[in-house]
């Protein structure tokens, strides 16, 4: 059964892939976000999608200040607590 962390990771990876056009297979959770080539607008829009999907309130800086997908997932999990 998928854990909550896995669900968030999968969701994030799919969204990042959709916005960046980088295949999911090339987006391991420990990949540096700055190497993916997301624009500021991409990050803003993904932030909104996270907020809606997991019914949480997140700060716009969550992704901007994170180095990897894993780090974002940790912050999202914290917001859900």
């Amino acid at each position: 059964m998928e854990t909550e962390a896995q669900a968030i990771t999968n969701f994030l990876t799919e969204k990042i892939s959709a916005y960046s056009k980088v295949p999911v297979s090339e987006l391991p959770a420990d990949k540096a976000l700055e190497d993916i080539g997301l624009s500021s607008l991409d990050i803003v829009m993904i932030s909104g999608e996270i907020e809606d999907e997991f019914d949480i309130e997140i700060d716009p800086s969550v992704i901007f200040d994170s180095k990897t997908i894993n780090e974002v997932v940790e912050k999202v999990l914290k917001s859900k607590d």
């Binding site: 624009s39 500021s40 607008l41 803003v44 932030s47 909104g48 907020e51 809606d52 309130e57 716009p60």
Partner: protein, 559 residues
Amino acid sequence: MKDYYLGLSTSGHDPALALVNGSGELVFAEATERYVQQKRAWGIPPDHPDHIRSLGQFIDEKSAIQLSRTWSRSKGIPGEEAGQNAFHSTSEIEWMYRLQTRTFEDAGIHVGQYQQKETGEIYDFDHHLCHAVNACYSAPVSSGLCLVIDGEGDVGSASLYHLKDRALKRIWRSWGPGSLGTYYSWLTGLCDFDWRIGEAWKVMGLAAFGQPREEIVDLLKKSIHIQSGKPYPPKEVALSEIKKSAEQFMRLPGEDIMKAADLAASGQAVYALWLDEILTHCGKYEEENLILSGGCALNSSYNGTIKSRFGFTNVFVPAAPADDGNAAGSALLSWMKDADTSQIPMGNMSPYLGTDVNGPGSDRKLKSVENFGGFSSVSDLGERSAAQIARKLSEGKIIGVMRGRAEFGPRALGNRSILADPRSPGMKDMINKKVKGREGYRPFAPVVPEARVSDFFDQAQPSPYMSFTLPWKTDMISQVPAVVHQDGTGRLQTVNETLNPWMHALLTEFEKVSRAPVILNTSFNVMGKPIVHSVEDAMAVLVTTGLDAVLIDNVLIEK
């Protein structure tokens, strides 16, 4: 708890200050533009050193004050790509972000100097939450939906909240640059009006003279898409391409205003299509009351159509739904934070929250006007003032009225108004020519008794702050032509005896000398200037225009 809670609107435009007392009551609120007499007061601090002295009637050196701002954070400097997905250009965005950042970061420094206060920690609140709380304060209901739509909030341009037992819970907020507010600013620019000084009004007024054209509507509606009630940037085509294509329809400098009429009508029609989508989404929450806030809640043309089409029992718009009003929202949130409550206090709905014309020095000023003004008559009408003014209006006089406390928000609601008889077909042109100096096509507003609104308008509803444009009943159109717009509508103000007893009495007296209790009410200013703030401002309008007289409290000054 502190003695007072001072909210400062820190957007970089429309600065304002608002004061809430220790009981959670909004006791003072005023936009800085009134004090400095500069429209929208771009870049001017909300705690302007002299304006802040206006609070002296409430606070003294012993008062403990809590300051608050109307954003979660400063915006900083935008990236070079900022204009790529936005209606505004990169340079416009940079200019606005710089002003917001400077205003936000400096907010409160004058309070320290001029009120000799330790400012301490400043509370910061989400921009849209400030809009929502300000709106709910003056909405006399305990539950409903509160929709905030503006140019830009902390993360996007729209938020939807549930109001339950006077407490707000956010349902969603939009993220990113899809923005109906900045769309309207861009549209205003396309019509060759200046969005920076709030000329969106001109687009709304002009729309009645044009027809939506299919090719313009089809193009403009691609610029935003609505999904699950939220506005997003265009999906299939770059906004930059849409903006470029739209240039073919723009009005060029020097061209006749009517050249932009179809563009204005098309732009307003597209705005309405999007709002319809958002409100259709809101329908699923099955609430009876809708509370609208944010700058887009000033679109009275659209607002007037909501109640009859979407099944809400009541639609409320606050007196100051734009960023000036956020000063009040922020001050109320500070009070709620310290009172440890999520319940928004309920105000008394009065918009008369600004500077009192009867404040310190008023007698001396009036004496100077009498002694040195060179006017033909200065007389205290006392309790007869409503009857006397009604008679003079019926004789065709155009009179500026400055009574009591100034209105909070963009509308003159009888305390800083120019009044006239709406029965004369030539009155509109007369006021434009002699007093206001504005474009002839723009409409003037009617004021009517709240209890009689259904006698005069279809789709009748209260409109205490001129937030709704409604269709006149057909038989009224010929009776009050000066306040009927091209499309047979009027952006009405309704008054009752509780909120403005003098205006209510004036309407009663006017009915005795005319056939209907309807008076033309336009803001007491000249084109390009904010509404008058001081007696000196009022006298300047009197002597530099064709205004016949000014009533200061009950003292009538006639040429």
